[in-house]
Structure formats: structure tokens, C-alpha cells
Amino acid sequence: MPRALRALSVVVLLLAAAAALCAQAIEYSRPVETAPQQETIGGGYKTPAVQKPLPRGWWLDILDVVLLCAAMGASVWIVIKRRKRRWLVGLSIASLAYFGFYREGCICPIGSIQNVVVALADPKYSIPMVAIAVFFMPLVVAVFFGRAFCGGVCPLGAMQELVVIKPLRVPKRLDQGLGLLKYVYLALAILFALKPALTRDFLICRFDPFVGFFRFTGAPYMLATGGVFLIGGMFIGRPYCRYLCPYGGLLSWCSRLARKGVTITPDKELDCGLCTEACPYGAIDQMRAVGRKCLYCARCYASCPCDGELAQAKKALVGIGGAQ
């Protein structure tokens, strides 16, 4: 009996829902066959085509993904193989120009977290292929090489990377405490994305601090937070990436597994500590690079007297000196 009742209530509810749906959508069709048409107007009249701007072509989507891959590859190559800070800055600027200002910040792994979550939870939600690719590729790269996406590819990161002027050292305790914020943010974003379709909210996109700059317009609160992050970013290295970016949280988990990454080579090091001082992100702990915190900026290489640009310059100089 209770089962029958339950079934009945379900049926009633379904009917009510169906009725509500029907009430929502009033038929949108009108008998307009008597409106004058091309053949009855005469005078050689031709009906103009309806203006219908088409979406971006699929090949542009593929181009985006290819460029993302290429940029990550370049980031890995520049940082791990070439160890050149200057080249990386160039890559950052290029990424900022394309993914930031040209694509207006909307091919974005950070936001794609929500798409993926919704797609996993909601059977009706259809996720764009680009979003899938954009979500997973940086993670896969992180599993092998660390957070290559963060340095030189992510436009949000690049923006903050470029404004770092005089990074202050954040006390370790505070750094760790603030670092937990991003997981809270991630959890909230997932929670809000899991809500039913109409109340669903994409928190990460809504509070994206820099997208307003990329679009040259945005809600005042967005631009204001972006400004605060940029000004703060002059003195605290990449505050959004380190403390708020939910995708950064995922990347740091993945990068724990990375075998290759930014390393302080033990048999070459001098224990001089210059790299630790140069790292604005507190990612070098006791003379060793911490992969999950390292944002691939290559500053440590730039500052190293034994390796990287300075050492290469030195080598060249010694060569000249020897020749004389």
C-alpha cells in the first residue's frame, strides 16, 4: 500500500511538473502565410537573407586547444631544458595576449572545473569538447612536469607574474593558512555547480578577478577585486594563484606526482640561498624546489650563479677571458 501511494505521489508530482512545463512554453507560431512574400510583391523584389552570425568555426576551437598544448610544451621546454627566464616572460606575454585579451579569458581551465563537475553529475548537461580538453591537459602535464600551465600559459597567472615588483616573504604559517583558502573555494564552486540547473551558479567565473580587464568591461566589483589583486600582486607574488585559484589546488595535487620539474640540482648547488630569495612564491624550501608550490616562473634559474642565464653569461665571459 505505501509503495502504491509513493508511486501515485510520484505520478502526481510528474504530472504537476509536466503541467508547469506546458504552462511555461506557450506555442510560438502564428498563421502568417498571408504576409506578402517575394513572389507576390513583384517589382523584382528579393527577400533578403536573415542576418545570422554563426558561432566560431570548430577549427578555431581546435586551434585554441592546439595553442594551449603548444604553450604548455613551450613552458616545459623553456623552464626545464633552456632554463631561461626571459623566454618565459615572452611566452607569458604571448599567452596573456591570446588567451587573455584576444579570447577574452574564456578558454579557461579554472572555470572548466565547474563544467566538468556539472557534466559528471547532471546526465542532461552537455559539456563542450574544448572544455574537456582544456580541463584535463594541464593536469596531465602537471602529473609529469609540475605546474607548467601556471607559468607562461595561464593568462591570469601571467598578469600577476608581470606585476611582481618587490615580493615580500609571506610567513610560512600564514602562507599555509591562506593556501587552504583555495580548497574552500574549490569546494564551494563544486557545491554551487552541483545545484539543480536553474539555481546553478558558476562561482569561479562570477568572481574571476581579471576577466573584466580582458574584456575592458565588467561589473564594478569584479574590476575592483582585480585591481586589488594586481596592486597586492606587486608585493605578494601571485596572490590569486597561490591562495584562491581552485584549479591551482588541483594542479598542486597532480604535481606531487611529477618526476620532472623545476629542480635545484644537488651536485651543482652552492647552498648560497639566492634561489630561495629570488622565489616570490615561497616554493623553495631548504634549498629544494617544492613542486606543488612552484609556479614555473624560472626566477630561481635566473638568479642562480651556477646555472641558468647568469651562469651561461659567466661561462661566455670566462671563455673570452681565457682567449685573451
Binding site: 510560438y28 510583391i41 552537455s126 559539456i127 574584456r215
Partner: protein
């Protein structure tokens, strides 16, 4: 010593492999689900401006003010196959304004003057002022305020003008800002092909 190291390596390899496999599985599952892309589109049967039965209300202009793109990605589209080509188009003229010496309303409706009016066909020699007119909406000027849509709908007009998302401008935000504020939930995600129904309808003709 070396034994321990290799064991640790093996372990890390295992973990990495399983993480990769997990991600691959999730990606595959999602790829299977990603059947057809979705785009934001205005549902004409829900939009206040075009929905049948809404009379005596002011046009809703949220599509203009809420879009994150500086000139809204929503615009009014005139479907010429339905357009009555009226002499006094209520979407072109403000038909409540006083009549001028030409016998037409003195005021245009569009605040941005985005609609052009052009006589078409042969003129009636007996009454040259009364004829068929073609109304073309300039995509570059229109910002989707929906005033013309509101006026074009039945019973006054034929409802040939509706609001559409222009895809070349739309950023396809995860959550369309217009849809958040739309009082009738008229901005919905539809499969890409259905979103292009005007184009498809033309092709099938």
C-alpha cells in the same frame, strides 16, 4: 637501500599511473557525453518581449544591460519570411506618437535608430505613400533592447522580430549573465544546431 628506492619509485609510478587512468576514464566518460555542443539562445516562447499574451507591459531590456559583452550579444532579428512588411510598422515607428504631415507616426521606436525602412515592389500609383516596406535591422547598431520585439508581436504585429544571440559576439559564458536575471528564464542552453534554427529553416526551404 637501493631496494627501498626502487620500491618507492614503483609506488610513485603506480600512483601516477592510476591518477592518469582515472583522469583518462573521466575524460572518456565526458567525451561520450559531449554529444553536440550547446549554446545560449533566447527562447522566443518565453521571452517577455515576444511571448504571446503579454500585452500592456513595457519592453524588458535586461538583455542589453546584463550581457557581459559591452554591446550585448543579443540582438533583434527580423525573420523576413514572416514579416508583414507593413506600411506603418509598429516596430519601426512609435505608433503612439503624433502623426506628421506624411501621414506617418512622427517618432521612430528604436532608440539607436538601428532599423532601416525601404520601399519594395512596385508603388501603387493611386496611393504611393501606402506600400510594402522592408525593415532591416542593422546588426552593428542593435543592442538587443527588445523594444521592437515587444511591439512586433501579436496582436499588433506578426511577431517576425525576435531576440537572438549573435554567436560572433557571445562568449558562451558558463552561466549567461542575462539568463541569471531573465525574469522568464528565457535564455537557455540549446544544442548548437537547434540554436541555429533560422539558418536551418532557410536551408530546408
Amino acid at each position: 637501500m637501493s631496494d627501498a628506492v626502487s620500491r618507492r619509485e614503483l609506488l610513485s609510478k603506480l600512483v601516477r599511473g592510476s591518477v592518469l587512468a582515472g583522469m583518462g576514464g573521466a575524460a572518456l566518460f565526458l567525451v561520450k557525453k559531449a554529444n553536440g555542443e550547446i549554446v545560449w539562445q533566447v527562447d522566443a516562447s518565453r521571452c517577455v518581449n515576444s511571448r504571446l499574451g503579454e500585452v500592456g507591459v513595457e519592453a524588458c531590456t535586461l538583455c542589453t544591460s546584463e550581457c557581459v559583452v559591452s554591446l550585448s550579444a543579443v540582438r533583434a532579428v527580423n525573420d523576413f519570411s514572416k514579416c508583414g512588411r507593413c506600411n506603418v510598422c509598429p516596430a519601426y515607428f512609435d505608433i503612439t506618437s503624433a502623426v506628421n504631415e506624411l501621414g506617418l507616426p512622427s517618432q521612430k521606436l528604436c532608440p539607436r535608430d538601428a532599423i532601416t525602412r525601404k520601399m519594395i515592389g512596385a508603388a501603387d500609383p493611386e496611393d504611393p505613400a501606402n506600400n510594402f516596406y522592408e525593415y532591416v535591422i542593422d546588426e552593428e547598431k542593435c543592442d538587443g533592447c527588445g523594444r521592437c520585439v515587444m511591439k512586433c508581436k501579436a496582436p499588433l504585429g506578426l511577431g517576425s522580430i525576435t531576440l537572438k544571440v549573435r554567436y560572433n559576439k557571445c562568449l558562451d559564458c558558463n552561466r549567461c549573465a542575462i539568463s541569471l536575471s531573465c525574469p522568464k528564464d528565457a535564455v537557455t542552453q540549446v544544442p548548437k544546431m537547434a540554436g541555429l534554427e533560422i539558418k536551418l529553416a532557410e536551408h530546408t526551404e
